[in-house]
Amino acid sequence: MAERLLTTARAIAEAIAQEMERDERVFVMGEDIGAYGGIFGATQGLLEKFGPERVMDTPISEMGFIGAAVGAATEGMRPIAELMFVDFFGVAMDQIFNHMAKIHYMSGGNVKVPMVLMTAIGGGYSDAAQHSQCLYGLFAHTPGIKVVIPSTPYDAKGLMIQAIRDDDPVMYFFHKGIMGLGWMYPNPRATGPVPEEPYTIPFGQADIKREGTDLTILTVSLMVHRSLDAAEQLAEEGISAEVIDLRTLVPLDKETIIESVKKTHRVLVVDEDYKSFGMSGELIAIIAEEALDYLDAPPKRLAVPDVPIPYSRPLEEFVLPSVERIVQTARDLVAE
């Protein structure tokens, strides 16, 4: 039988639908997730299936409805809230940071906050400084939040089901460029095989998306695809790159990272988030702490060079890691 192909958006919507069928405590809330189906399609078809009581359009009140999700979760529901773009987190950050993330701890483990906060990330289509950010690094810095960042339709479904079943607050970041939307820049890997039956992917297990021996590329989300494309080009030059999709930053699969570095002795982090004080720094620090002697060259990173995302195409292209820059940096790294 031919494998069933889905876009990432459909895979996510299917995961949510299957969990909503299985568990009536699950419901979804957010802006334009009902009739519109979610601006990025993550809730497409849910309103029709489950009705407005379980698929709730909200006002533009992110502090209010994300806080309400926290309150509903502590009362035993299992809400999924959508923050339309991660860039808007600032209007709701207190509820995310001081409540969603901390109530379980502050209560000494007596109160659970089983909820999923899903949100769109990423740029590359000229949406500029307030609609193009990734920001998972901020949330990974926050104790009490699990940070999930799928890169493929298959992972998206399994990680979403895992997130919904998890008893902890989970932030789930989907990149607009991996959703398989008709109107977004194309990405062939945004459509892929997805089993129909529900399945889970455990958190904290990185996925080696391509094996290699000369350098390790650590990355997530859309940059997995750019890195795979780069790895292909590098292979033609005789450079064998291992591409590791971390999939979750919290919990982080340190073991897979360290093992890979011990094998390749060289590491490049590719990150669409801001460079400094974020994901790339943490990964390199862990490697320096745990595998210093295995490094044959200083680690490198490609990330947004600590500027807001500019609007104009040539400017934006300049700051986002591209296949060419990944190739070039990998080349330099191997040459050292």
Partner: protein, 331 residues
Amino acid sequence: MALSRETLLQLYEMMVKIRTFEERVAEIYYEGKQPVFNIAAGPVPGEMHLYSGQEAVAAGVCAHLRPDDPVTSTHRPHGHLIAKGVDLKRMMAEIFGKETGLCHGKGGHMHLFDPELHFGCGGIVGGGIPHAVGAALAIKKRGEDRVAVSFFGEGAANIGAFHESLNLAAIWKLPAVFVVEDNLYAISVPKTASTAVRSNAERGAAYGMPAVQVDGQDVVAVYEAAGEAIERARRGEGPSLIEAVCYRFRGHFEGDPEHYLPEGEKEKWKQRDPIVLLGNQLKEQGWLTDEEAQAIQERMTALVAEAEAFARQSAYPAPEAALTDVFVQAS
């Protein structure tokens, strides 16, 4: 509507219970902090916001609540939690930071959680208001007749979460009651400098929500207004807003120099001590003798003493326990 003697005595007793607890916590708090006040010292370190003076609000509202009615509170949570019916021992132990506390010492005075009572609170002004909306949403989804109540100060009524929460509760017609405790100040900032209207009851209009301002020193007035709002919510008729005007008898937190208070203001308010007011009323009606009042006080003092002893005798959590409870499922 005249209240029964039983109800009035219950309200009275609850107010005495809260006051007794708070005043004892204040004494304990200064242990180890004299002669030089060091906020980190003593058996109860950290900030301490006490509820003395506002008892009528917690008592009057919570008298209508069942254990399964969710309540969200603030940085000044003791009164609400006691009125909700907490085990004083576990509450006091938490304030002492002990393993036997409600939160095993991780929460402390500003972060008291009692899931059996559906009670939560926190140190971020306005932070609990959306949680009450969410609890009310859960209730409505399940078709239950529970009601979620959120207590917060008049200062909190100027933060965005207030607006978003009331609007959500109104459009979704949720079983929620929002109780503003207008104790005139947010730390040192008086309501006149923070709030563009005299009464937050005027803000009900912004959400098409019934809203009323009541005398927060008069427990009967609070009881009646709360009863109406809570019954309305239980009947599925939607949320309400109540503002109760009251006063902080001990300042914002322990150690507050209170330089900013107008002279004589606190003294004036103390003459309308809610406990004394109700006590006098009961006595006038012949429903409470001085001896009975004394007996109630003694019972409450004993309860608090028992809680204190429990807290003192309890062990501190093991230091490494700091690393647990970040997640339910560690990986």
